[in-house]
């Protein structure tokens, strides 16, 4: 199977090549996550304790400590049921909504767009793998890709809306602009590049809206750029940047039972 993206029309990526790139991204991600877990696991397991002399950070210690806090009763009386926290505070992001409806809308559109596109890509991958294993489906991978194009467009635009609000807010609102540091810009810049490059790559391929009059011959490298940059920012770079909040924030909210 050949993909649309490639260095040129004649040098398109194969399934194996895409799998190699994806595996590299996942390995970099996993290594980073282990490092983070070890860094967090350098902490102690309970109140007012000290790490044992000579002990190193341990991912297992982190996971055990986190789980213990998730299930133990809070002395502060702020604890909420875990299901409520999962649905309202993590999926629906209630804590942001309480503080700022605009910022909630911005963050929720990015979250919903991003996660939906991720899930749709996962579905596409599952169909491709099914075909690789010789299991017959009532549709071909190409047909399924066409079927996904509409939801991909919809969630792509949902994501784009959130990203534009985020960038404009950081540039226009003085408080936000003055407080923004490189740590923040890398996150926002990454999401912006991934989103825009996706629209442009698709625009060049289809000649629709986002092509900006670019030569259709540039469609494969544009798609390749989008694929690589997506693997980089959406997977590999997560543990090494502010993207880590997509993992750490839900874990923190769960550990603190929805927070105060």
């Amino acid at each position: 199977m050949e993909y649309f993206s490639g260095l040129s029309d004649a040098l398109r990526l194969t399934f194996v090549q895409i799998m190699i790139f994806s595996t590299i991204a996942i390995v970099i991600f996993l290594y980073g996550m282990i490092l983070n877990f070890q860094k967090w696991g350098a902490g102690v397991t309970g109140y007012a304790l000290e790490p044992q002399a000579g002990s190193k950070g341990s991912a297992i210690r982190f996971l055990k400590t986190w789980w213990k806090q998730v299930v133990e009763e809070s002395h502060h009386g702020h604890g909420k049921p875990i299901l409520e926290v999962l649905i309202l505070d993590i999926m629906f992001q209630r804590r942001i909504l309480k503080r700022s409806p605009l910022r909630w809308f911005m963050h929720f559109t990015i979250f919903a767009g991003w996660m939906s596109l991720f899930a749709l890509s996962g579905l596409m991958f599952a169909v491709e793998m099914t075909e690789k294993f010789g299991i017959e489906l009532p549709f071909t991978p190409a047909e399924f890709r066409d079927f996904l194009s509409l939801p991909n467009y919809i969630f792509g635009y949902v994501l784009l809306l959130g990203v534009i609000i985020a960038v404009v807010r950081r540039l226009v609102v003085s408080n936000a602009r003055e407080a923004t540091i490189m740590y923040d810009w890398i996150l926002l810049g990454g999401v912006f590049i991934v989103t825009i490059s996706g629209f442009i790559a698709d625009g060049i391929r289809t000649g629709f809206i986002w092509s900006f009059g670019l030569d259709p011959a540039t469609a494969p490298p544009a798609a390749l750029f989008h694929s690589i940059i997506s693997l980089l920012f959406c997977i590999a770079y997560i543990p090494y940047s502010k993207y880590i909040h997509v993992i750490a924030t839900p874990l923190a909210i769960l550990a603190n039972k929805g927070g105060e």
């Binding site: 980073g32 490092l35 983070n36 070890q38 860094k39 967090w40 696991g41 350098a42 902490g43 102690v44 397991t45 309970g46 109140y47 007012a48 304790l49 000290e50 790490p51 950070g57 210690r61 982190f62 400590t65 986190w66 806090q69 002395h75 502060h76 009386g77 702020h78 505070d89 992001q93 804590r95 942001i96 503080r99 700022s100 910022r103 408080n175 936000a176 407080a179 540091i181 740590y183 923040d184 090494y240 502010k242 880590i244 909040h245 750490a248 924030t249 874990l251 923190a252 909210i253 550990a255 603190n256 929805g258 927070g259 105060e260």
Partner: protein, 419 residues
């Protein structure tokens, strides 16, 4: 060549707290609400978000990828000292936790960081370092004689030798703000509630040590908690009443953790106790207080433990009281500025925060700014005096006593002796 060691360590910081540093999205809500950041003239280092970022960077320099590959990067001592100063410019009021979009338990984080640095010999702040020695030696922070714990008790107050209920006075009410102790004891007598007190056996609750990162020093805080719990058990009590929010919080949250076990008695704030009696129609008011009253939620009673309704319920049931709310109440309350060792360590900052809170009260045109914590009362009075504002600052229990026709005057003979 000897292997470099990290400039910081992770003592007292739990694995979850280290993760919380990475969960901060830098949304800035904490900065918008922080009372000491505002009162300091927006000193950048006091912003909670900034403190989280700095310790995250220290962690990355010490335990992150680069540290793994090339060894930890040194953090200058002066930078850690500056961080310590900023860390102690916080009243641990917890508003940053309430508004944190990532749900970070910031109060626990600040206290753990303070303890971590104290263990390293950095901090606490100014006079705060005297707390462990003084409290360990005198069992109260005012250096007064334990024998005088009950010196304030006037002849009309009846205290049982043993009872189901203990009134835990607290050092400030027992030595400094006697009106609060008179009011509480006389109200309980008037309502026919038999209670006992610990007298000499009542030791400081340890709050000042815990809040300033000195929970570990000579194990004083744990000893205080252990002694108080044993003394309460010896009295045969099943319920302990507190009119001090700081002692209440320490007993409810800190003592069980220090001792590693649940307390064998119920911890109840006096306003919760009175609320229950009012609901059972067991209070017969004798006087009216025809004044407009507003209420300041003490952090240690409200945000830290979640008691918001009881004080309001009591105030609203005092005859004649017209209750009005200030801006920023309940979980979004603006701190008075006294807590977390700020009053002792940075009195000017504490005063600045108190002035902001008094201004909130003045905006309501209230006659009385009430609270349920002697420490809040002290600092709010200082804020009021600094502003030369015309508003009475009073504790709820004193207003209750007045409405029950009781005196809260301090007889001269009850003044405690100096040690």
């Amino acid at each position: 060549m000897a292997k470099k060691t990290p400039s910081i360590d992770t003592k007292n910081l739990t694995a979850v707290q280290l993760m919380e540093l990475d969960s901060c999205t830098r949304c800035g809500e904490c900065v918008k609400w922080c009372p000491t950041y505002a009162a300091s003239g927006q000193k950048p280092g006091l912003a909670p978000r900034d403190k989280i970022l700095r310790w995250k960077q220290y962690m990355d320099k010490s335990y992150g990828l680069k540290a793994k590959l090339f060894g930890p990067k040194e953090i200058p001592q002066s930078e850690l000292e500056e961080f310590k100063d900023d860390l102690h410019g916080c009243s641990t009021c917890g508003i940053c936790a309430t508004v944190c979009e990532s749900g970070i338990n910031t109060v626990e984080l600040w206290e753990a960081l303070r303890t971590n640095l104290v263990k390293k010999g950095i901090g606490p702040f100014g006079k705060q370092s005297m707390f462990p020695k003084l409290i360990g030696q005198y069992h109260n922070p005012y250096l007064l004689d334990q024998k005088d714990r009950l010196a304030w008790v006037p002849p009309d107050v009846k205290i049982a030798d043993k009872a189901n209920i203990v009134y835990f006075t607290g050092c400030t009410a027992g030595y400094k703000q006697l009106a609060l102790a008179f009011a509480t004891s006389r109200v309980l007598n008037k309502l026919g509630i038999e209670f006992t007190m610990l007298g000499e056996e009542e030791w400081c609750c340890g709050s000042a040590l815990i809040r300033t990162g000195q929970v570990h020093v000579d194990d004083v805080a744990r000893n205080l908690a252990k002694h108080n719990v044993e003394a309460i058990k010896a009295k045969g009590a099943t319920k302990v009443l507190y009119a001090c929010a700081g002692c209440f919080r320490a007993s409810k949250v800190d003592w069980p953790r220090l001792l590693g076990e649940e307390l064998p008695f119920e911890v109840v704030h006096i306003t919760e106790f009175l609320e229950d009696l009012i609901k059972k129609d067991k209070i017969k008011w004798e006087k009216t207080i025809d004044k407009t009253v507003t209420y300041h939620d003490p952090c240690h009673l409200g945000r830290h433990v979640g008691v918001y309704d009881a004080p309001r319920f009591v105030l609203e049931h005092i005859p004649g009281v017209k209750f009005v709310e200030m801006d920023r109440v309940r979980e979004f309350q603006r701190c008075c500025g006294a807590g977390g060792g700020v009053k002792a360590g940075l009195p000017d900052l504490a005063l600045g925060v108190a002035e902001s809170r008094v201004k909130d009260a003045l905006d309501t045109n209230a006659d009385i700014l009430s609270s349920a914590c002697p420490f809040c009362k002290r600092n709010l009075m200082d804020g009021r005096d600094s502003l030369k504002a015309d508003i009475e600052v009073e504790d709820i229990i004193v207003l209750v006593a007045q409405a029950l026709g009781l005196s809260v005057e301090e007889p001269k003979k009850a003044e405690p002796k100096k040690a």
